[in-house]
């Protein structure tokens, strides 16, 4: 059964405004109620066919509170994040629209924020973005007009002060829950908590971290974060994902910017008979330990090309504790809630 606060007149309509909430989406409500949140990422298709979105997102239904629509991840060209988000909303899902600073200047970005909010987007994740060298168009012009911190500040100003960076007025501000990414596993390590503090000061209300495969390192980072009281000023969702094999893990470690995988994980995968199953087991164990870690408000799953395993991983980790995130067949409108309540 859905929480009554998470139910609107239709699955795609903005929810009733709540005091102390900036958005009218489900993710903010789940987090503010203190529930352990689960989000996941889909990779947008290389296609103009909207049905592909529906197919890709199916394995997540009923298992995640929000779905990140990536914005040209890895500097590769895909369907735009705002469009994917709008298609997800049409189906009833809650998207997190990712905005990267690599491809747009401040004029385009602010226009996109207004457009996304108008289409019903309630959550935006602000990213710097991978360099163009990582993608399929290394010859492209990297824009980086804003950085992620300036982007957070820009959206906060648009929402709370109802104006563009230029000062020009916005008549209806974007009601969005704003997030940022952080990578506790990349040097300079002592800088990372400072940077997190900067992001929160600039407006970040939730954080999704890079893949966590190194729990002791995460624990050290979180201890510092808790010392600084940052976990009380934002919701931190730790990034997780299953590794398909030891070979894949080594390849990712060498080729994907910012992913840190300790040798112990690789050795464990190498020693397993079924490496794919072992990868999922490791992921479940990491999620369960993160659940216990002070300051962690949820997990963010990135299971690239293993989307079908999301349900199994979330189920086995037990972090939803019997709760079911939005699903098409669950009561999904105020109308049904009222009639059921009356019955």
């Amino acid at each position: 059964m859905l929480h009554p606060d998470d139910v609107g007149p239709t699955p795609w309509a903005p929810l009733r405004p709540l005091p102390g909430h900036v958005s009218r989406g489900r993710l903010e409500r789940v987090l503010r109620r203190g529930e352990f949140a689960v989000t996941a990422e889909i990779n947008p298709p290389d296609s103009a066919d909207p049905d592909e979105i529906e197919q890709r997102v199916k394995p997540f239904e009923g298992w995640v509170d929000a779905i990140n629509a990536t914005d040209g991840s890895g500097a590769h060209c895909h369907m735009s994040s705002v469009a994917v988000s709008a298609l997800l909303i049409r189906l009833g899902y809650s998207p997190v629209t990712q905005i990267s600073c690599r491809d747009h200047n401040r004029i385009a970005i602010q226009g996109n924020v207004l457009g996304a909010a108008a289409l019903g987007v309630a959550n935006i994740l602000c990213l710097t973005g991978d360099g163009v060298q990582a993608g399929d168009h290394p010859e492209a012009k990297p824009v980086f007009d804003l950085d992620s911190i300036a982007l957070l500040e820009t959206i906060r100003v648009m929402r709370d002060e109802r104006r563009f960076l230029s000062g020009r007025k916005i008549t209806a501000p974007p009601q969005v829950f704003v997030g940022a990414a952080e990578n506790p596993f990349a040097p300079p390590y002592a800088f990372r908590p400072i940077r997190l503090g900067k992001k929160i000061a600039a407006g970040a209300q939730f954080i999704q971290t890079q893949y966590c495969y190194d729990l002791p390192m995460m624990a050290r980072f979180m201890a510092r974060v808790c010392d600084l009281g940052l976990h009380e000023r934002c919701f931190i969702l730790a990034g997780c994902g299953p590794l398909a094999s030891a070979k894949a893990a080594k390849w990712i470690r060498a080729n994907v910017p910012g992913v840190h995988i300790p040798d112990t994980v690789i050795t464990r995968l190498e020693g397993a008979k079924d490496q794919r199953a072992e990868g999922k087991r490791i992921c479940v164990e990491i999620i369960q330990q993160l659940r216990q870690m002070p300051g962690i408000a949820g997990v963010h799953l990135m299971a690239y090309k293993q989307e079908e395993s999301i349900a199994e991983i979330v189920h086995q980790s037990g972090v939803l504790a019997g709760r079911t995130p939005w699903r098409r067949d669950l009561v999904a409108t105020t109308h049904t809630v009222e009639t059921q309540g009356a019955a």
Partner: protein
């Protein structure tokens, strides 16, 4: 699944950058250099009335010219026209291929080199070292506003003198 399919293959490798040893030297000597630089800026501010008499517009070209030569040598300065070196451990953030002025991206490699140019130390790893030497780590927490591209190529020195002299 083939390992190569798990994530997109990275683009072509870039040619190696020339070694910019003086920039790294400057960060290593951030403490002394910062003290010297502060003194220099004090001098500039003291000279503000004189500069105003000569006229900032007339000074712009020659001063920017000198500034470019000096700061390029010491910091690989890119003349962004809104210098933040004192808040970044004397490591010029415009050398970051993403132009980040608020701290490191998430792609810094385990050995502290840059995501984009694997041969180059990440400017923010250097910034942290420089700031530690200067005792100015707290300044790394200051938020830097997005860059004003109209100021590119203009003298930060004159702007510092001017801003201070303004009533």
């Amino acid at each position: 699944m083939r390992a190569e399919d798990a994530f997109p293959v990275r683009g072509v490798a870039r040619p190696a950058l020339p070694r910019r040893s003086l920039r790294l030297w400057s960060v290593r000597h951030a403490r002394g250099l910062a003290a010297f630089y502060r003194g220099f800026e004090r001098g500039l501010r003291a000279a503000a009335p004189l500069l105003r008499r000569i006229g900032y517009a007339r000074l712009e070209r020659p001063v920017a010219g000198v500034e470019r030569v000096v700061k390029q040598a010491l910091f690989d300065c890119r003349m962004c026209g809104q210098c933040v070196l004192s808040a970044t451990g004397l490591s010029c953030p415009m050398n970051c291929p993403k132009g980040l002025r608020n701290g490191p991206c998430g792609g810094v490699r385990d050995n502290g080199t840059c995501e984009v140019h694997p041969q180059m130390p990440c400017v923010w790893v250097k910034a942290f070292e420089g700031a530690e030497r200067m005792g100015a780590v707290a300044r790394l927490g200051e938020a830097q506003a997005p860059i004003d591209h109209r100021k590119t190529g203009r003298s930060s020195w004159l702007q510092a003198a001017q801003a201070d002299a303004a009533p």
